[in-house]
Symmetry: C2
Amino acid sequence: MDKLMRRLSTQDQNFKQIFADLLAFETVSDPELLKTVDQIIADVRQHGDAHVLKLTQQFDRHPAHQFSELELTQEQLKAAFEGLSTEVREALELAANRVREFHQAQKQDGWTYVDALGNTLGQKVTPLDRVGIYVPGGLASYPSSVLMNAVPAHVAGVAEIIMVVPAPNGDLNPLVLAAAYLAGVHRVFTIGGAQAVAALAYGTETIPRVDKITGPGNRFVAAAKRAVFGQVGIDMIAGPSEILVYAEGENNAEWLAMDLLSQAEHDTVAQAVFITPDEDLLNAVGEWIEKHLEALPKAEIARTSIENRGALVLVKDRAEGAELINQVAPEHLMLCLDEAEAMAEDIRHAGAIFMGRYTPEAIGDYCAGPNHVLPTSGTARFSSPLGVYDFQKRSSLIMCSENGVKTLAKTADILAQQENLDAHARSARYRYQ
Amino acid sequence: MDKLMRRLSTQDQNFKQIFADLLAFETVSDPELLKTVDQIIADVRQHGDAHVLKLTQQFDRHPAHQFSELELTQEQLKAAFEGLSTEVREALELAANRVREFHQAQKQDGWTYVDALGNTLGQKVTPLDRVGIYVPGGLASYPSSVLMNAVPAHVAGVAEIIMVVPAPNGDLNPLVLAAAYLAGVHRVFTIGGAQAVAALAYGTETIPRVDKITGPGNRFVAAAKRAVFGQVGIDMIAGPSEILVYAEGENNAEWLAMDLLSQAEHDTVAQAVFITPDEDLLNAVGEWIEKHLEALPKAEIARTSIENRGALVLVKDRAEGAELINQVAPEHLMLCLDEAEAMAEDIRHAGAIFMGRYTPEAIGDYCAGPNHVLPTSGTARFSSPLGVYDFQKRSSLIMCSENGVKTLAKTADILAQQENLDAHARSARYRYQ
């Protein structure tokens, strides 16, 4: 096989095994890393601000001499926003507005009903009090990530949104600060790594303890989030980015190739998979990928991703394509065919479904409206895009009347006795005897 | 202080510190335990059924000679159900029906809208394909837990619900099997511990891989769930049970004392806290607790819980009471006063709120309708009762028209360039140029 990109057919011998191996991606937990992270968390809990400052000077070579220099003011955020070119400012505003509009449709309300016995039952929905948003520094410091994490929290009604973003050598991306301003972030600290996660989870003299931490980070950040899970809520631990494009019928192969490359350019371990029942289209897409790889600025990253983890897969028909898609449970799914909506009915597992030929995945990263924080590595089997619901939680409501409780109390009494929980049985019995 | 139960007042010097220390409960992660659990998971992944059988024979002293003996048939579940006394069967049916009715109100549907540009946006909601429910064996093998885990999964539309329950010496609680029958559990394996969690997370020759594992278990089960998080979804790792009762005005102190004891009898580290602005009521409740502790079958457990982790707290007024409640974020909250509903408005964090004098917490454990799997140890700050929403997940839907995409593609192009993601920018540009 002298082609750059792996070509598979469901008719191949051992296709199932080869395809399963291609999808497999397991992050190995490194005991040394976990030990380092546990130590950082313990030290931040004990020494607070002082330790966070020390590690920030050490790891980020940040020039700050005291902790207060690590907090930005709202004026600084506003100035960053006002310093943008008109074109970029308008693009960021359009994105923020569309993300806000979409997420407003996700907001959940409480409800109650009165049962046949006259008891009131329901759920109350409340926002989290305070959340922390982790934004990576350096090259992966994306303004779009700020919007995608902060806007849903803001729409949910979170009273205090705290952003942390490391500033290597004291340098910050002004677009990230502008996005924080637009998204309604309340406080920004220029810290990062496991020490920032620990500070948010447990609080320090200056940084208040949050209730949930969301946002992507390097392996130290991921390990720290896993370690503080339970003390605070966390979002999913993100794996490498993925795209699966299914196409049939009239299509522009060059467009499809670029859609696949747009994920491949993220990361050498990103995954781009193309599935089609049309062998000519498969070949054309493969050729366009090779061609564009010659010119793309991030060609080296994209080439490694395409060679190691990419695939062009020929299927018998659409039904077989849908079956493979459900097996992959891709983060991003593009369905490029006339009957995209009908096919989407058969998709059970995907983070986001882009339908038709005029819906490139890239618009979902920035401004379509839906969140770009999506379940990776097959976790769309059991999890959802980041949303307003991640920043709200529910409390059950139960209020029985003097009469309405009787049937329930008798039932609880009987069942509690079966479970040998005598105080349960008695506390129920008082209410009906 | 010669009283059994700790008495505090918000007027005490150092009240804040004393109260914070009382609430603190941290499970220490034991490196030896984690190593054992990691090894069990690795062995189950490698050897499948054979290793699960071996550990089940070893740890549970189960008499099975081959793996197939560890699966129960639907006939066995049905026989267990039909073998119940009429009283118990009817109580279990009433509980299952009420839990089902309440959870049906939680079911979420997808939605779409068309934006001003003519693009369709929305979310699709789908059930998980397959879930695993862990039910502890032996003394803590509660039929109510089976209902509370399996019914929401069933209401969500999960196609396959697999229950695991260890059978020490081959013994099973027939009520647990009856509850599985009523709740619509599809398959039952009599296995437990970290090996059962590993088998559900990765699958074996006989046990299919699930998408999410819920349900309580011992520290091996908790550590295993934490270890497989990411490979599958999990519910929260549960801490000890807690109740907080707030009362004022006309109340029966004996009832309130028994409500507090109903949590204390669960576990020596369970927590029962009583808060009131009424010193006479506080004293009366304290006296009834001491009195009932003389007669309760589980007095030894309850006494340890009350002595070590219980408290009677005198507050200035209702507002101060609400503030303390929000600080605790209790699993179970009883508000026993005329204005319970008004006070509930001020509660931001609680797993379940039981309002009025005729709503004992115990009915919530069995048959009120809401779930009894609730966030513990203050995690109600950021998490919710187990519900249908835990067995459903969402996919974003995006479909642009040829015209509608233009504004979005242009915006994505501009922002992608700012993030130096050239393939993103180009794939967007194709759609508007």
